[in-house]
């Protein structure tokens, strides 16, 4: 497997600085004529946007990854060293005990590369919460020590959510790196073998589609049909559902937009496709996102832009439900990514 790119941080790119990303989103001359997200929310009677529940605790256990995808909003990669430690995970477990989150959504990087990953999943599983792992698939075949991940996931009833931007190698590898598609298919077969994606097992593997460029995702239901037909026909693999996710103008996808001359047009497309009915179900309203160092955010995107939660509790060690329920969500121009067209969330379309 070869890497699609290297991290912005490693390259010392200007956009590795979140302040520069926010400057581009807020003040770049090409988007100066576009409205602010807050203004559009007000026009549609949705301001201020407030949290309504603490259903999901999304935990980013680190930026380390065996892949370096071109569109990654985390700027993850093999060179990133930031990972969550066990004491911070313990803070997360305490928050689960205190607030009764029903879903804990583990993301990264490749979350499985955190040495405390299995301990954390076991502890969560023992508490009876639904554990989601955002698994990039290739990690399963990257090293013999990960080959038993499908059995481990199955033993704990983990809901596996995996990116696969297309059902063929050329499109997938262009975005995620050479050989990623073939390795992903091998991993999907291993997951199928232990029951994932098979009817009646209750073991769920969902795939995530995101467009291969400056485009909005197409209709989820019809893309899901195409993915299912093609993956079964050509590779004999099964999965449960396809989630369509819009690429966010953050980090490496923002770099692609800028370098390819698509930034202004893409932002105008997101703004032009604003869908008021998607606002109701944006994921930030029902979740808290925890960074590798324990800091709290409204979502993984705000985390990557270093926009902390507007609450007296800004670290998982200080978590209380009271401090975070009903809080005003921190918004900026990137939020148009979650409200464009059919909407977008970590669970796919929302409108």
């Amino acid at each position: 497997m070869s890497l699609a790119t290297t991290s912005l941080l490693r390259r010392g790119a200007a956009l590795s600085d979140t302040a520069e990303q926010l400057r581009v989103l807020r003040d770049h001359e090409g988007v100066s004529h576009l409205p602010q997200f807050a203004t559009v929310l007000r026009q549609h009677g949705h301001a201020p946007l407030r949290a309504r529940s603490l259903t999901t605790l999304q935990v980013n256990v680190g930026k380390m990854c065996n892949q370096a995808c071109k569109h990654c909003h985390v700027d993850a990669g093999p060179d990133r060293q930031e990972i969550m430690t066990r004491p911070t995970m313990q803070n997360c477990l305490d928050a689960v005990d205190a607030a009764g989150f029903s879903v804990v959504d583990l993301t990264g990087g490749a979350p499985e590369m955190n040495p405390e990953f299995r301990w954390f999943v076991e502890e969560l599983s023992r508490r009876g919460v639904q554990v989601i792992v955002r698994c990039n698939l290739t990690i399963i075949v990257a090293n013999p020590k990960y080959h038993d991940l499908p059995q481990f996931f199955a033993a704990h009833g983990v809901h596996v959510v995996s990116s696969l931007p297309f059902y063929d190698a050329s499109h997938t590898d262009r975005q995620r790196g050479g050989g990623v598609f073939d390795d992903s298919i091998r991993a999907l077969r291993m997951l199928n073998e232990v029951g994932y994606g098979r009817e009646g097992t209750g073991l769920i593997i969902d795939l995530v589609y995101n467009p291969l460029g400056a485009l909005l995702p197409g209709p989820q239901a019809s893309l899901e049909k195409e993915f299912k037909r093609n993956l079964m026909q050509h590779h004999g693999v099964e999965f449960n559902a396809l989630h369509c996710i819009t690429n966010m103008p953050i980090s490496r996808f923002l770099e692609f937009l800028m370098n390819s001359g698509n930034y202004e047009r893409y932002m105008a497309t997101l703004v032009g496709a604003f869908n008021p009915s998607a606002v109701e179900n944006v994921m930030c309203r029902d979740m808290i996102s925890v960074g590798w160092d324990g800091k709290l955010f409204d979502c993984d995107f705000n985390q990557m832009l270093d926009l902390p939660v507007a609450s007296s509790a800004r670290h998982i060690a200080d978590f209380t439900a009271e401090a975070l329920m009903g809080r005003a969500i921190v918004i900026d121009r990137h939020c148009f990514g979650c409200t464009a067209g059919a909407g977008s969330s970590c669970g796919g379309q929302i409108a």
Binding site: L34, G218, E226, T269, G272
Partner: protein, 137 residues
């Protein structure tokens, strides 16, 4: 326009810079301006009732039906090449990709358009042959 742009890919904003209004063609301006595509909805200014009917019908045409949205988008792409409409080529290239079409599918659609255009000329060869036989000894 926002509502329309969700329904109809051809109205997706194409560029953030509106072209300054000019009443005549200047040397810097061509007959086809990419900035005109997102203004498609403005045709309603001169005839709102008919435009409303057209846009409603247009939206219904491209909804999922017996044909999938992707199939419809590829047909639109092929027709766009047959009628050589630059706006439609831009709009339905983007739309076909968004609907999950591959580059290979899209080029095959263009070949279908070209084959029908070419075939339409060639099949008239029969008419030519008929005429040759009519007037020849």
């Amino acid at each position: 326009m926002r509502f329309i742009s969700r329904l109809l890919p051809i109205f997706a904003p194409h560029t953030p810079h509106p072209t300054p209004h000019t009443s005549h063609l200047t040397p810097a301006m061509s007959y086809y301006e990419p900035t005109d595509l997102p203004k498609f909805g403005s045709i309603s200014e001169y005839q709102p009732e008919l435009a409303a009917k057209f846009f409603d019908w247009y939206g219904a045409v491209f909804a999922e039906g017996a044909l999938t949205q992707r199939e419809k988008s590829l047909i639109a792409l092929a027709v766009a090449h047959a009628v050589q409409c630059p706006y439609c080529i831009d709009a339905y290239t983007t739309d076909s990709l968004q609907k999950g079409a591959t580059e290979q599918m899209m080029m095959e659609a263009v070949h279908v358009a070209a084959a029908i255009r070419g075939g339409a000329s060639m099949v008239h060869g029969v008419q030519m042959m008929n005429k040759v036989r009519e007037v020849s000894m």
